[in-house]
């Protein structure tokens, strides 16, 4: 399996593939990737989150990776949209992942 990607698994067993560098943005995921769970071969189970929540978190990680390197003089960072009905659960996921 490719070492450049990790797979995140949600409560209902849906899988989301994300680049290793995007996953590293989360200190929690970084610890899991580098930690004793290394033998899991790039598969991380996050069973406490629904699939739509995890999907949105993955989307944010990619967004963060894309725009965090932009020069600080550049003001052209687009806004990351969050559906209202998702905000409470997404906050809990964001808190857990420290993102």
């Amino acid at each position: 399996m490719s070492q450049d990607f990790v797979t995140l698994v949600s409560k209902d067993d849906k899988e989301y593939e994300i680049s290793r560098s995007a996953a590293m943005i989360s200190p929690t995921l970084k610890a899991m990737i580098e930690g004793p769970f290394r033998e899991s071969k790039g598969r991380i189970e996050l069973k406490q989150f629904d699939s739509h929540i995890l999907e949105k978190a993955v989307e944010y990680l990619n967004y963060n990776l894309k725009y965090s390197g932009v020069s600080e003089d550049d003001d052209e960072i687009p806004e990351f949209e969050i559906p209202t009905e998702m905000s409470l659960e997404l906050l809990l996921a964001a808190d857990y992942l420290s993102i």
Binding site: I77, F80, E89, L91, L92, A94, D95, I99
Partner: protein
């Protein structure tokens, strides 16, 4: 030529009649000496090797004085202009002086020359001023720009913001706050209905997750009267708010009304909790039995008395910290009204409490399990005798003992209190004796050898400066070795590596080794290998821990000097 042409004319015209001229008077007042001027003039003449015999001598003193002044000034002018030395300011000054001193002269020719001389410095000065003004403007713009950048960088650093992209947490909180505000504007429904709909619109959160939500909001400093509405839920029983600084006294009343089944409530930094809202909490929460308050400094003695009367017979856990208005009388009221039901008591940083001796008389519940006495205002108010008496009362059932900052305690408390009254098969889960600098290795070694601490989860000996290796080794020979999850050995300067050879705890996750001088790279490596679940070691002030320390994957060092921000 210039000089020879002008000298005779000026000499003649400058004759002054009368006792003293204004100029003479001025020069006297300024302390300018004719003799000095004469000497300078002579030096100048000798340098130029001019014939001294050209001098017109024999004139009256006043006339001679004035004539010499004029010549000296004239010479200076020529020098300045000819050599180009001196600054624009000096040139301007000379011109000004020259004009003033030449006023007696009536020659049209002289006036023209003076005007011409004075124009040049002014013109040059003006041109230079224009250039420097432009440069100054450019510099100012740069300075302002740099200042803005520095300010932004400092703000980012203080907020620990690594980059410009907002965190997902702050984005979620912004969305949540916006919707709460929107809902409040559309307040045409009953308030209870609003709360339920509010949570549904925002996606809903299970009751079990509400405390996680509270923690997340507090962490982001977003817990306030608006976001408080997320927690108004009839089936909520336990609630912890870590940062209540933005919750108003009305917020607490709202909470008491709409979450009526709360049994455990913890309000940290509740500086706005006032007497009205505290009594409201007591009256509207009939099932409340556990209350933890940090910083309720608006509550006075009378209100505490009323509160404890209302809570009589049902208050089981009470922890309070950081207020000077909880007095001995308040403590007495607490113990008289609620002492028989209390199973957990915490008193921390209460500047007005001195009568800790009351405690053994009233803490009589057979199931008492937690005692925290921290940082008494006068250390001697918490002494060996009081703690020994207390442990005689509650030692059998104690699961948590925290005596931080009780620096009057000595080995006697360990031997005659802990060892004497804690049962051999000890239920103790938390033991913290921070800053007990009179407690020695011998007494603790004795305690650990007599009592099996099979349930000990958390242990702290921070700043117990006299503790050496044998105390730690004895602890680890104890049953505690298998149960410990958190161990604090901060500032135990007497420890050597020998203590850490024995440190092999299968369940340990956190270790604080700050300011322990013997800790180095090899110790870190050994600890990582011997403690498989260890995830964090604090190493602040451990100068021997370097970037070369080899760490097992999953282990994080915090406070290493070589790590960058």
């Amino acid at each position: 030529m210039y000089r020879s042409r002008n000298r005779p004319k000026r000499g003649g015209e400058n004759e002054v009649k009368g006792p003293n001229s204004a100029l003479t008077q001025f020069l006297r007042e300024e302390g300018i000496s004719a003799e000095n001027i004469k000497q300078k003039w002579y030096q100048r003449q000798s340098k130029k090797q001019e014939d001294a015999t050209d001098e017109k001598k024999g004139k009256a003193e006043d006339d001679s004085f004035t004539a010499e002044i004029s010549r000296v000034v004239e010479d200076e002018e020529i020098d300045e202009i000819g050599t180009g030395s001196g600054t624009e300011t000096e040139r301007a000054q000379v011109s000004y002086d020259a004009r003033m001193k030449l006023v007696p002269a009536d020659s049209d020719e002289e006036e023209y020359e003076t005007s011409h001389i004075s124009d040049t410095p002014v013109s040059l000065s003006s041109a230079n001023d224009r250039e420097s003004l432009t440069k100054k403007r450019q510099n100012t713009a740069k300075i302002i720009q740099n200042r803005r950048r520095k300010r932004k960088r400092a703000a980012d650093l203080l907020d620990r913001r690594v980059n410009k992209v907002s965190s997902l947490q702050s984005l979620c909180i912004t969305k949540i706050s916006e919707n709460i505000s929107k809902w409040q504007k559309e307040a045409d429904e009953s308030s209870k209905l609003v709360f339920n709909k509010l949570r549904d619109v925002l996606g809903g959160v299970s009751t079990a997750n509400l405390n996680n939500l509270a923690k997340a909001l507090s962490k982001n400093r977003a817990l306030n009267d608006h976001t408080l509405q997320l927690f108004l839920k009839t089936d909520l029983k336990r609630l912890t708010f870590s940062d209540c600084s933005k919750i108003s006294f009305d917020g607490y009343k709202t909470l008491a009304i709409f979450s009526p089944h709360l049994t455990e409530l913890s309000l940290q930094m509740c500086g706005q909790l006032n007497h009205e809202s505290l009594l409201y909490i007591a009256e509207k929460l009939p099932n409340l039995k556990s209350l933890n308050l940090d910083g309720p400094f608006l509550i006075n003695e009378d209100t505490w008395e009323k509160f404890f009367v209302i809570m009589k017979g049902r208050l089981e856990e009470f922890h309070i910290s950081n207020t000077h208005r909880f007095t001995d009388k308040s403590l007495s009221n607490l113990l008289i009204n609620c002492g028989s039901t209390l199973v957990s008591l915490g008193l921390s940083r209460l500047d007005s409490i001195s009568n800790y001796a009351l405690l053994p008389q009233y803490l009589v519940n057979d199931e008492f399990h937690s005692l925290c006495i921290e940082y008494p205002f006068n250390e001697e108010d918490v002494n060996d005798e009081i703690i020994i008496n207390l442990l005689g009362q509650i030692g059998r059932t104690l699961r948590k003992l925290v005596l931080n900052g009780c620096i009057d305690l000595t080995d006697s408390m360990i031997i005659n209190g802990l060892t004497a009254f804690i049962p051999e098969k000890c239920p103790l889960e938390v033991l913290s004796l921070e800053e007990s600098d009179q407690i020695t290795t011998d007494s603790l070694s004795y305690f650990f050898s007599k009592v099996e601490l099979n349930n000990l989860i958390e242990c702290s000996f921070r700043r117990c400066l006299q503790l050496g290796d044998m105390a730690i080794i004895e602890l680890l020979l104890n049953g505690a070795r298998d149960s410990l999850r958190s161990l604090n050995l901060n500032s135990l300067k007497e420890l050597t590596k020998e203590a850490f050879v024995a440190l092999a705890c299968p369940n340990l996750t956190y270790l604080d080794l700050g300011f322990v001088r013997c800790v180095d790279d090899s110790v870190i490596q050994m600890l990582g290998e011997q403690n498989p679940n260890l995830t964090v070691i604090d190493v602040f002030g451990d100068n021997l821990v370097t970037e070369k320390a080899t760490m097992r994957p999953g282990l994080t060092l915090i406070g290493r000097q070589s790590d960058s921000i």
